[in-house]
């Protein structure tokens, strides 16, 4: 009996230690429930899954980098606006007829520049990124609306079959290229922040900036680099979306900023910085996108609201236990 409870406790402790495992289980539960309760189990049909993995991955990539930025102790509310702005940059470049790869690279650079502006203002003017990026959110969407005249614009990728396949094709008729990009970017960022010394600088910058600085870490540079990575990754998601939808919409990215923060929080990232795991954010993003997929539009906000607050409370309890047990990611 006692041996049994001891073992049970060990399983529980392992569960608590593995933050990303918790989030995966939430995802698996939601997925199962949605499948069971969808008429004819249509939810997990191949067609539905292809859409889920393709469209979901665009947003998931954004969530991933926003999670990384939050670990460094900063927010980015402007991701949705960077997305729509860089979408229009790509559309404009595409329409000039320049090489598509050049257009892609220039778009990524424009995203990186917007991220850099967010970063440099935040650290040099010493104002909260919440404010900087709130301003950027309004500014870049406004600029895009003005510039595009709020119009939609179509793109024709038939001239560029190779790059089209690489960005929005379906591998083996089963896995959308977007999902492979998402997994690939997850692996790169996870290696970077959990195994590379740069990751240790991100965590310590977010956790105790004074300590990091006293140990010679350039915390300003770390934060700016994270903003730049966010900008570049968001513009990549913008390009993906353009390839998939073959159209520009001035409403693209609307509301993504909060969904991205929601994914990071569900994935175990602390709003105060210094705590988080990229695999956790991966599954957090999957949780949010599976909800978006399944639940009617007006319900998603309600569910998000509940999930964000609930996971924040659960995280707090779990993290207290975790501190005692040591952390596994």
């Amino acid at each position: 009996m006692s041996g049994n409870t001891g073992q049970g406790k060990r399983v529980l402790n392992t569960f608590i230690r593995m933050r990303s495992l918790n989030v995966f289980i939430i995802f698996a539960l939601l997925f199962t429930v949605f499948t069971i309760f969808s008429p004819g189990h249509r939810f997990s049909s191949k067609e539905n899954m292809l859409v889920f993995l393709a469209a979901g991955s665009e947003y998931n990539i954004v969530a991933l980098v926003v999670g990384m930025l939050m670990i460094a102790g900063e927010f980015d509310l402007s991701v949705g606006s960077i997305l729509v702005f860089t979408s229009y940059v790509f559309l404009s470049l595409f329409n000039t007829g320049i090489n598509i790869l050049a257009a892609l690279i220039l778009t990524l650079c424009s995203g990186a520049v917007l991220g850099f502006i967010n970063g440099i203002i935040t650290v040099k003017a010493k104002i909260p990124s919440f404010i900087t990026t709130l301003g950027a959110m309004l500014l870049w969407r406004g600029v895009t609306l003005f510039w595009s005249g709020g119009e939609q614009g179509g793109l024709d990728f038939t001239q560029n079959p190779v790059i089209f396949k690489a960005i929005s094709g379906v591998v083996g008729g089963l896995i959308p290229a977007q999902f492979i990009w998402f997994v690939g970017i997850t692996i790169v960022i996870a290696l970077l922040i959990h195994y590379h010394k740069f990751g240790n600088w991100i965590f310590t910058t977010g956790d105790n900036k004074m300590a990091a600085r006293a140990m010679g870490i350039n915390t300003d540079a770390i934060k700016i680099i994270c903003f730049v990575i966010v900008g570049a990754a968001v513009s990549f998601a913008a390009v993906m979306q353009m390839f998939r939808a073959a159209t520009f919409s001035a409403r693209a990215g609307d509301g993504w900023e909060l969904k991205a923060i929601a994914a990071a929080v569900v994935g175990g990232t602390a709003l105060s910085g210094g705590i988080g795991s990229i695999i956790g954010v991966f599954w957090g993003a999957m949780v949010i996108s599976v909800i978006v997929m399944r639940i009617a539009y007006w319900w998603t906000f309600t569910v998000f609201g509940v999930i964000i607050v609930a996971t924040a409370i659960i995280s707090r309890v779990i993290d207290q236990r975790r501190a005692m047990l040591g952390a596994d990611r």
Binding site: Y195, H196, N200, F203, T204, M210, G216, A270, A327
Partner: protein, 265 residues
């Protein structure tokens, strides 16, 4: 070896060539902030493997003196000699290169990061392309912690799970590992229980045993009286006294601090 008790007390401001056994010697240090004189005519030294209590009330100039020593401020006047050579400690990096490490209680550690990663914060051990050698980081951080006499099981545990005394231990283990020659502890016992304070005092003795000099800053003489061998007392930016433990007692020191007046002899 420390025949400089009288000399340290004297207010002589003449620059001198120093041939002595001290590890660091600050001579005739002055510092103004605008019109406010934060330090006036300070002569302060620390010998090899010596524990010095730097005592004074809030605003006495302790932090300013230490910030000059650790490169955060530069003195407006005066010189610093390190191992007999004149040095210019222009920034904190220079201080670190010389082997002067400061441990601030609030600024030392990242609570949600593992012990090993805290020890190597900013100086991570790497394998290739900057990827961390976590095995070696765990091993070497545990080595330093054990050397200090601190008992911690798991280097992967988060600092948040440690007691205040253990946290100080981790911060001190870090400077021990990185071969500091002079460790400045800024109010290391201020928020600690009696038992934890005792633990920190044990760490200080361990540093001395490793041949490391310690400057123990506190505004409370009781915190440092047991551990220190010499006391340097500041008041309103001036040196009140520089006295070896065997030449004084705690009541005398308290009198000095309270009255804020220099010994008259």
């Amino acid at each position: 070896m420390s025949d400089n008790k009288a000399k340290g007390k004297s207010a002589s401001s003449s620059a001198r060539t120093v041939h002595d056994a001290s590890l660091v010697r600050m001579v005739d240090i002055h510092k103004w902030f605008g019109k406010v004189c934060a330090l006036r005519n300070i002569d302060f030294h620390v010998n090899h493997a010596e524990i010095v209590g730097l005592v004074g009330d809030n605003g006495a100039g302790k932090s300013t003196l230490i910030k000059i020593l650790s490169g955060f401020y530069t003195a407006d006047r005066g010189e610093i000699y390190y191992e007999g050579k004149k040095v210019d400690i222009a920034n904190p990096k220079v201080a670190k290169q010389l082997g002067i490490e400061t441990v601030y209680q609030e600024q030392a550690l990242a609570p949600h990061v593992s012990i090993a990663r805290n020890v190597f914060m900013g100086r991570e051990l790497t394998k290739i392309l900057g990827f961390m050698d976590r095995g070696r980081m765990d091993e070497e951080s545990m080595g330093a912690i054990t050397k200090l006499g601190l008992r911690i099981k798991d280097p992967e545990a988060m600092v948040e799970a440690l007691s205040g005394g253990q946290r100080q231990g981790v911060a001190i283990a870090r400077v021990l590992h990185f071969k500091a020659k002079l460790v400045v502890l800024d109010e290391p016992t201020i928020a600690l229980s009696v038992k934890e304070s005792q633990q920190v005092l044990d760490f200080v003795q361990q540093l001395k045993a490793e041949g490391i000099s310690v400057i123990f800053i506190t505004h409370n003489i009781f915190h440092v009286f047991q551990a220190a061998e010499r006391f340097f007392i500041l008041s309103h930016g001036e040196a009140l006294t520089d006295v070896r433990k065997e030449d004084t007692d705690i009541d005398h020191l308290i009198d000095l601090i309270v009255s804020g007046r220099t010994e008259m002899k």
